[in-house]
């Protein structure tokens, strides 16, 4: 287990470095610069600024500086807001994005699993059809479309929930709803199909033959086994949710990382782009690691070892 974690840790570092490198060269292959003439800066001023941020250096030197900033996790000041460092932006925006992300994941997981179980138990009944129709809708409607729909209904037409910002729990309802519906639908469908499969297994028949109550059979014998495929896709879902927050934050005017990230790309604010990319990829890679650990906790047959497999 310890050896596995060490090995996994190295793989995580390499993954983040690869992502960071790809982002760096992609970003520099796009034409444009943080200081373009549209803003009315003179050529001399622009050259000065580029020199100040090291943008006049050859690419490999910039890459070296960039690697150094990754290791020290110090990306310096933002180009667009020079009085703030990238770390300032992260520490201000990320807690809010993180809150939105975590709430969304919990909502999606709990309601998705519950819905999936109910649908499986009422297999081919009315509830099952309703739940699965809802799930198909949830999967096919993009979250930004859903966001505008819920704002229109709940905030504008019915005026029962606030339409924007992030200042109370009432404010959290609509963004969470918009962001959680898709993942919830995916989890519900997966839970249902995996539950249906598990319920035909011999050990479930055996649990019935023992005279256990249906509740115990579902919660103790079926659910844990049925959750394995769900855990497998959880890593991908977490990634989708965390990046999904960017779009949703923009729509709901939530002051999370999304705002800075979108602005930084539009404005070629290199330090902010690089900083957020490295930060988010580290989080994702870590989440995937947690998923693997969760998997081994669920299934005793899976032993985490340095050989990387079962």
């Amino acid at each position: 287990m310890a050896r596995y974690i060490v090995k996994r840790f190295f793989i995580m570092i390499i993954t983040v470095l690869v992502i960071a490198t790809l982002t760096f060269f992609l970003m520099h292959s796009i034409p444009g610069s943080p200081f373009n003439q549209e803003r009315g800066t003179s050529e001399a001023v622009q050259a000065n600024l580029e020199a100040f941020y090291g943008l006049d250096e050859p690419l490999y030197v910039q890459y070296g500086m960039y690697l150094k900033s990754i290791v020290t996790f110090d990306f310096g000041p933002s180009i667009k807001n020079p009085n703030q460092t990238v770390n300032d932006l992260l520490s201000r925006g990320f807690p809010i994005s993180f809150e939105l992300g975590i709430i969304t994941i919990l909502v999606a997981l709990i309601s998705g699993v519950t819905l999936g179980i109910i649908a499986a138990l009422r297999h081919n009944g009315v509830i099952d059809y309703l739940a699965m129709t809802f799930a198909v809708l949830g999967i096919s409607v993009p979250n930004f479309v859903l966001a505008t729909l819920v704002i229109q209904q709940f905030a504008v037409n019915w005026s029962i929930l606030p339409a924007a910002t992030w200042s109370s729990s009432a404010h959290m309802v609509l963004p969470t709803l918009a962001l959680a519906t898709g993942p919830m639908a995916i989890i519900a469908r997966l839970t249902r199909s995996s539950m249906l499969e598990v319920l035909t297994q011999d050990y479930i028949k055996m649990a019935r033959a023992k005279g256990l109550t249906p509740m115990k059979i579902i919660l103790k014998h079926a659910l844990k086994n049925a959750m394995m495929p769900v855990v497998t896709i959880l890593g991908t879902l977490v990634a989708a949710i965390l990046t999904g927050t960017f779009v949703i934050e923009k729509i709901f005017a939530i002051p999370g990382m999304g705002k800075y990230f979108v602005e930084s790309i539009n404005g070629r604010d290199y330090p902010v782009i690089m900083g957020t990319t490295v930060f988010y990829s580290s989080i994702l890679v870590f989440m995937l690691f947690l998923v693997d650990v969760a998997y081994s906790l669920l299934d005793p047959r899976i032993k985490l070892n340095a050989k990387g497999g079962e």
């Binding site: 055996m206 023992k210 005279g211 115990k216 005793p300």
Partner: protein, 343 residues
């Protein structure tokens, strides 16, 4: 078929047979599927007495497992339904019990052992938990006492180091060991009836023999009655007291082991015995019964064996033969045995 009077059955551990532990009468089970209604069990009657092993044998699909599920109240509904008949366990009618009442009997008074030990245990739960959860469901036993009982049962089925092994998961045991655990689980509540559905089919031959010995040993120690479902006549020869032969949802012959093996009367039973390698017939080629069992969607009106029977007569096809009482313990359903046909 009518019930024979088993009072004179040579059964171990029995003084004088009074009320059977299990009395099944005219049991009918159907499944409604898209293709039509399957008449899986078509009027099955038999008794199981205290301390005996009744073997139910027959080809695949003849309704053995469905019969046992019906006794346990485990017919999946829908699509399945017990459409007729009675199941009396120690005089108590089970088919009219509510789901909750049935659940109280299941695992406590009647236990079941499944065919494949590789899939019968939950891979994500410790063995100890799987052993104790049943008894904790049925009684108010403390968790320590339940564990003690589990250790005792693990010893009974011959698993070394039971205390440590209770903390392990199923994948840490071999197939034979797992089947021992499944048996231990079935015995936890000291049931009076054990239904074993092909308990050795999935095991290799040496392990099979060990498990069968274990059944005999347990029966001697606990006096439990066993219904052993199998299509392996070798298994039957080893541990059955009485044998019921099933064909197309019916029991077509029933008798003591001796009667079935040495004086089989039904052509199907004879065919079945010929298709099995036997020590006393060494060297003789096997003769499997040709043909396939009838379609249970539309079972024939007459004897279901007509199409495959070497002695089939006109009457066989049209009218179901009645049960002929051959001895106090031996019954068979065949026109050849009928007084009227003999003339």
């Amino acid at each position: 078929m009518k019930l024979a009077n088993y009072e004179k059955t040579e059964v171990k551990n029995s003084v004088k047979q009074e009320e059977p532990v299990l009395h099944v009468k005219d049991l009918e089970v159907t499944f409604k599927t898209y293709g039509g209604t399957v008449q899986a069990v078509r009027g099955v009657s038999f008794d199981v007495f205290k301390g005996e092993t009744l073997a139910i044998v027959g080809e695949s699909g003849c309704g053995k497992s469905v019969t046992s599920s019906a006794i346990m109240g485990l017919i999946p509904s829908p699509p399945g339904e017990i459409t007729n008949g009675r199941v009396l366990f120690k005089g108590k009618e089970l088919t009219s019990l509510s789901k909750n009442q049935l659940r109280e009997i299941r695992g406590a008074d009647i236990s079941m052992i499944f065919q494949d030990p590789m899939t019968a245990l939950n891979p994500t739960l410790k063995i100890g938990e799987q052993l104790t959860e049943g008894i904790r469901q049925h009684t108010s036993i403390s968790s320590e006492d339940a564990t003690k009982k589990a250790v005792e049962m693990m010893k009974l089925v011959g698993i070394p180091n039971p205390t440590e092994r209770l903390k392990q998961y199923p994948h840490q045991f071999s197939g034979g060991m797992r089947q021992r655990i499944v048996i231990a689980i079935a015995l936890m509540c000291e049931p009076e009836l054990l239904i074993a559905d092909e308990p050795t089919t999935a095991l290799d031959v040496t392990i099979q023999a060990q498990i069968l010995e274990l059944f005999e040993e347990i029966q001697q120690k606990t006096g439990v009655s066993i219904i052993l479902i199998t299509h392996d006549l070798g298994v039957v020869a080893k541990i059955a007291n009485r044998i019921a032969v099933m064909y197309a949802g019916k029991i077509i012959e029933v008798g003591t082991k001796r009667e079935i093996f040495y004086q089989p009367n039904h052509p199907y039973t004879k065919g079945l015995l010929h298709s099995v390698p036997r020590l006393d017939l060494k060297g003789k080629p096997l003769e499997p019964i040709e043909g396939t069992p009838p379609d249970l969607f539309a079972p024939p009106a007459g004897c279901p064996f007509t199409a495959r029977c070497p002695h089939a007569m006109t009457v066989c096809e049209k009218i179901m033969p009645e049960t002929t009482r051959l001895t106090e313990t031996h019954d068979a359903d065949c026109w050849l045995l009928d007084e009227r046909a003999k003339k």
